[in-house]
């Protein structure tokens, strides 16, 4: 019995060790791949030549799509911030998705809207559209008032009405930097055929915001937002850049991503009833391009920035992470036929297997590891020194990846001016593995439970708002 137990724990130890080595080697590989990408973008990002080129009419016109639901307090300012983005030619298509507050009245008042006949193409099916409005004061604004159908449905209505060949899906409560559209359009300058482009999302908590713009980027001193700041840096600065080189970028953020309208129409737009519609859309786009033999790129570029508020309470973080993971599980399950399918190239052979085994199953493996460790120590089947050394290496690697992300941020875009903020980043990189990581493991495990129960809801994402005084 004792011998069998020891053998079981030894096998468990080895399995977890191998999983750990494989996963972290892949992260290290992504990190290496991100270097040349980051270098190229860094060379072009703040170049006066390109800044000038990008502000000419050399770029294609873009429709900014903004779904809005119950945003009466902020809608007028949000729309103004979208209308005043620095870009030679863009329009804003706002969809009031059946708001039950005074969002529509506020829009009519602020922008002097008048109803026009619905002379727009309806290629994608959506919930019933009540009316279409134009503004007498801002010719580039189009407002669609429709029945509530969810974010994906609202975006589909906006895609139908968009005039221009490229569209950007934005959340009404996301703060886009004034020059972010220009930067996002840089791949056009490099003459690539583009299906979609992803930009960076950064954490606005703790930053000073004036008139819908981040005027002073800071790192929130509180534990939860602080840890998420480091997490976002890691995810965007090397995770997605590394995937660029592999050609398997599966996430174009729903809060800030550019798409070629023709491809969105070809895949039937956003899928309604999906809790992570952005990942689903990116995967379907990949499939479409692959199946049709279209060689259009879906790059991520690091310097166009949109700021979003992250949860500062455990309750909201729980909802968000559980929902994200539920979406991931749903997507992997729905697309399981693609796993290890060479027909789908990097997506089938690398990206989806990574998301399935390295992301989706990671909390399960981590939980088994923690439980096995505790049980093994309790039963005397695991050597204490080995356990301590393994935990130190596992946590050390996590810290190292975060520190690398901070280094990449420092040598390239350096958005945080104050020294104190850099120290805070290091501090959160150090403490992220103690508590925060375990917390997110629990939240993600909850997603498995919800999937088994068939729960498909979004949950409510409460925000503090940008007007909160900075914590620094």
């Amino acid at each position: 019995m004792t011998h069998a137990l020891l053998q079981t724990f030894a096998a468990l130890d080895w399995s977890i060790l191998v999983y750990f080595i494989l996963l972290n080697s892949f992260y290290a590989f992504l990190l290496l791949l991100s270097f040349p990408e980051l270098w190229t973008h860094f060379q072009l990002a703040d170049d006066v030549y390109f800044a000038r080129v990008l502000s000419t009419d050399a770029l294609p016109p873009i429709s900014v799509l903004v779904p809005a639901f119950n945003e009466e307090v902020t809608i007028a300012a949000s729309v103004l911030s979208f209308l005043t983005l620095e870009y030679p030619r863009h329009e804003v298509v706002l969809v009031n998705d059946g708001s039950t507050d005074r969002t529509m009245e506020e829009l009519v008042r602020a922008y002097d809207l008048y109803e026009i006949p619905p002379a727009v193409q309806r290629t994608l099916p959506t919930a019933s559209v009540h009316a279409v409005y134009r503004s007498r004061t801002h010719s580039r604004l189009l407002v669609i008032d429709k029945d509530n159908g969810g974010k994906a449905d609202a975006l589909n209505a906006a895609i139908n009405a968009a005039r221009f060949p490229y569209v950007i899906a934005c959340d009404a409560d996301t703060l886009i930097e004034p020059d972010a559209l220009l930067r996002l359009a840089r791949p056009f300058l490099l003459e690539r055929d583009i299906a979609a482009i992803g930009g960076t999302i950064r954490v606005v908590n703790g930053c000073r915001v004036e008139h819908g713009r981040v005027v002073d980027a800071r790192v929130d001193g509180r534990w939860l937002p602080g840890c998420q700041t480091v997490e976002y840096l890691r995810a965007f600065l090397f995770g997605r850049l590394g995937w660029n080189r592999l050609g398997g970028n599966l996430i174009i953020s729903g809060a800030f991503g550019l798409f070629a309208r023709k491809y969105l129409l070809a895949i039937g737009g956003y899928q309604t009833g999906n809790v992570t519609e952005d990942m689903d859309l990116a995967v379907r786009l990949h499939l479409h391009l692959r199946e049709q033999g279209i060689r259009a790129a879906m790059p991520f570029i690091p310097d166009p920035v949109a700021w979003t508020e992250v949860p500062s309470s455990m309750k909201i973080l729980h909802r968000q992470r559980e929902r994200w993971h539920r979406g991931l599980i749903g997507m992997i399950w729905e697309r399981r036929r693609l796993l290890f399918n060479p027909r789908y190239g990097a997506v089938g052979m690398v990206a989806l297997p990574f998301y399935a085994f390295g992301e989706m199953l990671a909390p399960v493996v981590e939980l088994v590891g923690y439980l096995g460790l505790i049980l093994g120590l309790f039963l005397g089947a695991v050597d204490t020194s080995f356990a301590v050394a393994f935990l130190a290496v596992a946590m050390g690697f996590g810290i190292l990846l975060s520190v690398w992300a901070i280094v990449l941020e420092e040598v390239t875009f350096r958005r945080y001016d104050a020294r104190r903020d850099v120290w805070r980043l290091f501090f959160f990189a150090l403490v992220e593995g103690l508590g925060y990581r375990q917390l997110t493991v629990l939240y993600r495990l909850h997603a498995f439970w919800k999937v088994m129960r068939g729960d498909r809801g979004w949950g409510v994402m409460q925000r503090e708002g940008f007007a909160r005084p900075s914590t620094v």
């Binding site: 300058l189 130190a392 280094v407």
Partner: protein, 356 residues
């Protein structure tokens, strides 16, 4: 070596590496801040001599001397910015000649055949500032560089080098370039239009592929050189709809009776995007005589044709607006809806949409 020892070594190595990276960030930040402060001081020192030179009360020599205090890459960035945004065109040659022997120029031009694209980019930029006709051979390979950023800077340097052979190459390469490089080529060709006229006219009349001809037509539209109008007008009867549409779009910048007559015929073209381009051009040409055909276009089966016809009617002044008001009572639903949508637009909005 036991597994435990391996893990221990890895843990210690990780800790050392993380500490090293942290130290790197801290040291680098301090050095960067010091360098930025030094550059700022250097730039601040340049302000007075620069202002004096720009208003004609000083010479360029103090500026040249002041720039020596900047690192080579900063000096190039400073000179590029200065050259493009503040130095009057009349002083460009003088500025370039004064900078020619400087170390940052030698450093930049040394990158002309580098394997690194950003060094070739530096060379192309430097040629844009200090280049003259003797640099044609240096610039030629950069015009065909494999990196679009380098080609873009090289196209801008064309104006400084001012060589007829290179201008011909730029015109011939135009259809193969991406949007941004085209934009810069266009800007450059505007400044050396006398050298661009002949090769562009020849290109327009050539038997090249329809897509190439359409690209040259769009270049002709942007350059707006009266001598090109006959060549553009001749292309409205081209068998390719791409070329016909491009010709219609180009002619909107060439107000002339012959332009109106040529474009009017395209309102009955079988291709909807050609009809849309023709409708747009007729609005831009303020072709009041064509109003009945534009009204008829409000019932076209293609949305874009109806939209362009409505906008062009709105551009035709009071008679066009009256026609739109009348169309709001039309028995045709398409015409009624489009007329209602465009009639509600303010004049500024009509101009903006019509030009888009």
């Amino acid at each position: 070596m036991s597994l435990l020892l391996v893990l221990g070594v890895i843990a210690v190595a990780q800790a050392a590496f993380a500490a090293m990276l942290t130290a790197f960030v801290v040291v680098r930040r301090e050095r960067l801040l010091r360098r930025l402060a030094r550059e700022e001081t250097g730039r601040a020192r340049l302000r007075v001599p620069l202002a004096q030179w720009l208003v004609g009360s000083g010479t360029v020599e103090p500026v040249v001397i002041g720039m020596r205090e900047l690192p080579d890459d900063s000096a190039l960035a400073f000179a590029s910015e200065l050259h493009d945004t503040r130095v009057p065109r009349a002083l460009h040659a003088h500025f370039g000649a004064a900078m020619r022997g400087e170390s940052w120029v030698r450093w930049s031009l040394a990158g002309v055949s580098s394997r690194r694209w950003w060094r070739r980019l530096d060379a192309a930029r430097a040629l844009g500032i200090v280049g003259t006709h003797v640099d044609a051979d240096l610039l030629r390979p950069l015009l065909g560089d494999r990196h679009p950023a380098v080609r873009l800077a090289a196209m801008q340097a064309l104006a400084a080098v001012d060589d007829p052979g290179l201008i011909r190459i730029a015109v011939q390469r135009y259809p193969a370039e991406g949007l941004a490089v085209r934009q810069f080529t266009t800007n450059t060709l505007r400044t050396v239009w006398r050298l661009a006229e002949e090769p562009l006219c020849a290109a327009l009349m050539s038997d090249a592929s329809p897509l190439d001809v359409a690209s040259w037509l769009s270049l002709a539209e942007l350059l707006n050189l009266p001598s090109l109008r006959p060549a553009i007008t001749a292309r409205v009867t081209h068998p390719s709809p791409e070329v016909r549409a491009a010709a219609a779009r180009a002619l909107r910048r060439y107000p002339h009776e012959e332009s109106v007559d040529a474009v009017r015929a395209l309102l009955d073209d079988p291709q909807d995007y050609v009809r849309a381009a023709a409708a747009q051009a007729l609005g831009a040409l303020r072709a009041v005589d064509v109003q009945p055909q534009l009204v008829r276009g409000l019932s076209d089966h293609a949305w874009w044709v109806r939209f362009r016809c409505a906008l062009s009617l709105a551009l035709l002044g009071e008679s066009g607006r009256a026609a739109l008001r009348l169309a709001r009572q039309s028995p045709d639903q398409f015409a009624r809806e489009m007329a209602a949508m465009v009639s509600g637009l303010a004049d500024g909005a009509v101009l903006e949409l019509a030009d888009g």
